[in-house]
Symmetry: C2
């Protein structure tokens, strides 16, 4: 955390980063580092100047929040990253691993021995270990299980059993439970016996003997009410409760809609299992938004800025391959009309315009629909209205832009009929884009797939091949 | 909020929505509604069946959280939306307007009289009124000012003075302040005199006589510590503080990084101005992610699902026009080589492949860089390394995909030299895509513009025109 005298925490981080880089450079200069692959043996750093640099670096890192250390590690190239990573206090290792992005976490874990990993993970809660688990070697997970208490082991097993997109994967076990028949006074005394409250404790959970959730006591109610009142009198019975199998994304909507700080998780008999807190929700929202953006751009997953080249190639491979297939298809569509192009070569120069604008317009529609689907705004009642609206928008756009393009064509090629064909082709391709811009995401959704992934590639494929076919087909029929 | 017996709040909402739609349909049937433009005069609805429907609808709506009402309104076509809107309790109007998306809010406000608007806004806090203000008629804002207390007027003026992307625009004024020299016991008694605490009160702000922030007392510290201890002994002095002029997006990173529920906002003398809470931050993150996605797809702003056609056309206009210009340029580049295409018509069928894959690859690079810029992971130290990495990735991809395409071309056209030209053109266009994929966002950033907006359009323009030029140019030199 930043000191209150340095209110802008981000400028702060930039300055820190510069200082770290500066010290690192001096350190490497003295040491005569050249082999970037080799891990520096910090024990051997003997010269006094260097010792001072290292000391200062260590002090700097010790004072930083784990999230800030993770940020610095993410910004550094691999060799520098590992030097810094070895300077981080062992007590911080687990937290930093948690905060680092998946790709960077992998590079850090690869650099650590099994014992180091167990030591780092042991400092974390069961739900946090579960987040790391997919990246840990199996040996480490086994060792970890041995070192945990029975309760923690149970929690870890529970946390690891849920798929990534279920509420169970977001859940933690830090719940404070109370009974409804005690006075607030008793609750206050109970809390005072604790050393600290779990982070994000904005409510205490009221349960019966069998751990069935009866209601929640908001901390703010605890604070404003007379200590002589009983819990039952001020507890809230109308609250959001989640189930471990609920869809995580839908749960985050509940946080957004009802401005929650935490929400209880119960099993299907109403027994309290844990809670979800807003910080986990923010991370989830962020990751989801990022993954959507990455997928849209054709990256399979998040990529370390300094990932080895071959790793990056692999990450980008799948979507380039798909793109190649759709490009081949479009190319073959054009191939069908080679005779026409040979007779009127202007067609070759004009056809990318039809395909390009169609793709842009189709992507506009797709984005609207995918967003509305995510917000659950589309149902059978209004789907037809939506198609009609999108087609109307496209008809107007087709008229406007088709006319512009027709005039452009006429000006350049001095052919009114070629201009008219352009106008007509543009209108038809925009209508195709609108129709499929609505139908593609709706169909993907019906097939149980995420409409955010792949919709854009599909619509572009359709408007490319479709655009070429419509334009060259019309030209062949009417001009040649 | 949902009852605890209905844990999945979303299924709940879906069912509710169906019920609302059903009642609406029955209502309209009885009333013989045909003219969708005309606002229904609910006072005139006299028939008894209809009265019952209306009653049930009203009851349903009265029980709903304003966020849920807003959601239902967003899902309904304009005519149905306005019928429902007129049934919403006046006390809920302000909250619903706040929760609704900008586009839908506009349609609701248009439907309201000035007095209704003033009444709705009066129920909101100053910071909330400031959020609505840009959409309100000037008369309404003036009337509102008159109706507020001096302090609220001051707050409203302050809140409205900050640009949308500054911390000041996210700030609210619901702070509880205490002095450091009192005992926790006194603080507890003080809180008990309040009817309720502001939402998201996870900390109390410790200030001196001049309202200078000295530290914060976490509510959890207040609860676990002995009431006889003084505030000064348990307050935290190391906390995140923001300034009203700070960049809002950077502030949201602080919430994410340090798992905050609230953060203080101070002016440059350290005087407490207000606070930012996590619910506002979530809304901001969400809106930002959405706007980025919309801009990327070529929509200027969020669009009401059922916006009138001409309004939608306007929203999509700007990007289609830009796209048209870049398509014209690409078309003219092809026009330069019409002679070559006439001699070898296969060029026309092959050239979109080069342009398409280049665009895809360039967008992959851009997405990486824009994301890293947003996370502040790029600095002059590592920018050069990044360019080298991206160019290496492209070189490998160019080799792989260029070979695939070369073989494809050879198979179809039985010309080894044409295949080689394809391979070479593909490699060169991918290198161009990598270089500009790094340089375009870095340059936009240097010019002080948001690299997320427009980068994608620019890189596609470059890889289209560039791809056509490279491929047709090479073919003209070596084949013809």
């Amino acid at each position: 955390m930043t000191d209150k005298n340095n209110p802008n925490e981000n400028e702060d981080l930039q300055v820190l980063l510069q200082r770290v880089t500066y010290l690192l450079r001096k350190y490497k200069l003295v040491e005569g580092f050249v082999n970037l692959q080799e891990k520096p043996d910090l024990e051997l750093a003997e010269s006094s100047v260097q010792k001072r640099n290292l000391e200062e670096l260590k002090n700097l890192l010790d004072k930083l929040h784990p999230a800030d250390i993770a940020h610095i590690l993410e910004t550094l190239p691999l060799d520098d990253r590992l030097i810094i990573w070895n300077l981080v206090k062992v007590e911080h290792d687990g937290e930093v691993l948690l905060e680092a992005s998946d790709a960077v976490r992998e590079t850090l874990i690869t650099d650590m021995g099994n014992e180091e990993l167990v030591a780092a993970a042991e400092q974390l809660d069961a739900d946090e270990i579960a987040d790391l688990a997919p990246d840990l070697p199996l040996d480490v997970i086994n060792d970890l299980f041995q070192s945990l208490s029975i309760e923690e082991r149970e929690n870890l097993r529970a946390a690891m059993s849920y798929p990534e997109d279920a509420v169970g994967a977001l859940m933690d076990f830090d719940v404070i439970t109370i009974r409804e028949d005690v006075k607030l006074e008793v609750v206050l005394r109970y809390l005072r016996r604790l050393n600290e409250l779990p982070d994000h404790t904005d409510q205490l959970f009221v349960v019966d003997r069998d751990e069935h959730l009866q209601g929640v006591l908001l901390v703010s109610q605890l604070l404003v009410n007379d200590p002589d009142i009983k819990v039952a009198q001020v507890m809230t019975k109308e609250m959001v409760t989640l189930q471990p199998d609920d869809n995580a994304e839908q749960a985050t909507h509940a946080f957004e809609r009802y401005d929650l700080v935490s929400a209880s998780v119960v099993d299907n008999t109403g027994r309290l299992q844990g809670r979800v807190t807003v910080n986990t929700v923010i991370d989830f929202i962020h990751e989801k938004a990022e993954n959507d953006a990455l997928n849209l751009a054709g990256l399979s997953e998040e990529e370390d800025l300094f990932a080895p080249v071959l790793k990056s190639v692999r990450n980008r491979w799948a979507w380039l391959a798909i793109n190649l297939v759709t490009a081949f298809i479009a190319s073959r569509v054009i191939g069908l009309f080679e005779d026409s192009i040979e007779k009127l070569v202007a067609l070759a120069a004009l056809m990318p315009i039809i395909a390009g604008i169609g793709g842009n317009s189709g992507n506009q529609t797709i984005t609207m629909i995918v967003r509305a689907l995510a917000l659950r705004q589309i149902n059978p009642d209004n789907a037809r209205k939506l198609i009609i609206k999108e087609i109307s928008v496209s008809a107007v756009n087709g008229l406007i832009w088709g006319t512009v393009i027709g005039l452009f064509t006429y000006t350049i090629y001095q052919s009114a009929s070629l201009g008219l064909i352009m106008t007509l082709a543009m209108m038809l391709n925009l209508l195709l884009a609108a129709l499929l811009g609505v139908l593609i995401p709706l169909t993907l959704r019906k097939l149980g797939r995420d409409p955010a992934i792949g919709s854009s590639v599909l619509i572009t494929a359709v408007t490319d091949s479709g655009g070429f076919f419509i334009f060259l087909g019309l030209a062949t029929i009417f001009l040649l």
